[in-house]
């Protein structure tokens, strides 16, 4: 309701940085030509150079070669492309078995489900109470017909980081491809594909103060993948269609602007918020206490529903998130909290706070003060815990 909301939902979308918009604008006005080959006109060559430059920056951030990075419309498409693309490329040749986790974000969960409907089998690896993969169980699940392991780099709700080095080492040893959805960690938590044996990585611009509608997929050289989008020969003949050059330039600029110093600033705000919130009786942190995204806090408060807390915070001018998914008038508890063994009450009671570039230290004090009041008052009227 409040136009001057304090925005703490930077894992859903981020405000675009003015410098990103400035970098993009020329590619919508004077440099609008389609990227062309060396045989095309000069205006098209300039577009091609801009696209190649953006690709090099983004691939470089992952330690990859430019030709290993394909632009997509966002990480949802990237994950579809990776999972279905590998499934279709190897389904006939090697097998129809995929391994994932129950707490993946919807693009991964639903892509795997889509393959299940086509005859694939999907197994979920066991997780500990913080959402980290049980590596021994992963070893046990890999079969001769396993074509892909898809495990996120960081969780979208509880912020837990996976040990991708260890997961990748297991996959490499067993000759299975590894895809990782790094939407929530890209730019904030380093990932180098030379060090980490991962074959496909989904990333997106919209959580890095870049534009919505652009993402990318890192594809290690030699990874079998079907052509995702029929059309022209763009994106190394994997994704047809006119390239989105302005957004690609914006994506690269957004990534360039992310610095370890800024991430440290976000982490300091996050740490302080978490410390204050844990002083509220009957509260608990969701996700790993150490191996977690630096800008994510996720806390549950017993005897109150997260949806109510969210609404009351909104009325006071704060934007936060819960893990619940709203289908019509029914609310489904967070599949992530349920996936790490949380009960129904906890699955409905988690609140996610995610920090971004435009948050200020005083935001922490203001949201903590409002939240403490809301939790106390909702507990007074809550039927939960009184039954």
């Amino acid at each position: 309701m409040n136009q001057d909301s304090i925005y703490l939902d930077n894992a859903a979308a981020t405000r675009m940085d003015e410098r990103v918009i400035e970098a993009m604008l020329p590619y919508m006005t004077e440099k609008y030509a389609v990227a062309t080959s060396q045989f095309g006109y000069s205006l098209g060559l300039a577009s091609k150079e801009a696209l190649d430059g953006a690709r090099a920056i983004l691939a470089g951030r992952l330690g990859a070669e430019p030709e290993e990075f394909v632009f997509t419309s966002g990480s949802a498409e990237s994950s579809n492309m990776a999972i279905k693309g590998v499934g279709m490329a190897l389904g006939e040749k090697k097998g129809r078995h995929i391994i994932s986790t129950a707490i993946e974000d919807f693009p991964v969960l639903h892509s795997a489900r889509s393959l299940e409907r086509q005859g694939f089998t999907v197994d979920h690896v066991r997780l500990d109470e913080h959402g980290r993969v049980d590596l021994e169980h992963l070893q046990e699940l890999i079969r001769p017909d396993t074509v892909l392991v898809t495990i996120q780099a960081a969780n979208q709700e509880i912020g837990t980081l996976q040990d991708l080095d260890a997961i990748g080492a297991i996959c490499r040893e067993r000759d299975v491809l590894l895809h990782s959805d790094a939407t929530y960690s890209f730019g904030r938590v380093p990932l180098d594909v030379v060090q980490t044996p991962v074959d496909l990585v989904s990333v997106s611009a919209h959580l890095l103060h870049g534009p919505k509608g652009i993402g990318g997929l890192y594809i290690r050289k030699g990874t079998p993948l079907i052509k995702w989008m029929d059309g022209g020969f763009q994106e190394f003949n994997l994704r047809g269609g006119v390239e989105n050059i302005a957004d690609a330039v914006g994506f690269a600029k957004a990534v360039e602007l992310i610095t370890p110093k800024e991430t440290q600033r976000l982490q300091e705000m996050r740490d302080r918020l978490m410390a204050i919130l844990l002083e509220i009786p009957q509260s608990r942190v969701n996700g790993h206490p150490e191996h977690r995204l630096p800008h994510n806090a996720n806390v549950s408060f017993r005897y109150v529903e997260g949806e109510s807390v969210l609404l009351h915070l909104d009325l006071r001018g704060f934007a936060v998130s819960t893990g619940s998914a709203c289908f019509s008038r029914s609310l489904e508890g967070s599949h992530v909290i349920l996936g790490i063994g949380g009960n129904h009450e906890r699955a409905h009671g988690s609140i996610r706070f995610t920090f971004g570039r435009y948050n200020k230290p005083e935001d922490v004090d203001q949201v903590a003060e409002a939240l403490a009041d809301i939790v106390v008052r909702l507990r007074e009227i809550s039927p939960l815990g009184k039954e």
Binding site: M1, E305, E307, S308, L311, H312, D314, L315, R316, R329, L331, R377, L378, E380, I381, S382, P383
Partner: protein
């Protein structure tokens, strides 16, 4: 006479609050909104939201199981 009437009887938390928020968004300043509900917690939660929004609470009538709340935007 209310300008906007909302019937959230037999709905539970957080639907009554969600519907109230929608009504407040479409109401003009001075409009009266009347909400009829049956969820006991919402009977207490809506006045809390009214206070946070700085609106005027005109009446809370009925019982916790069958109530009517009138507010002015």
């Amino acid at each position: 006479m209310a300008d906007i009437r909302i019937d959230v009887r037999y709905e539970t938390c957080p639907v009554p609050l969600v519907e109230m928020r929608k009504a407040v968004r479409r109401a003009e300043p001075g409009d009266i909104i009347e909400i009829a509900g049956t969820h006991p917690a919402s009977q207490k939660e809506i006045p809390m939201a009214v206070e946070a929004l700085g609106l005027e609470l005109l009446a809370v009538e009925g019982t916790p199981d069958a109530w009517t709340i009138r507010i002015r935007r």
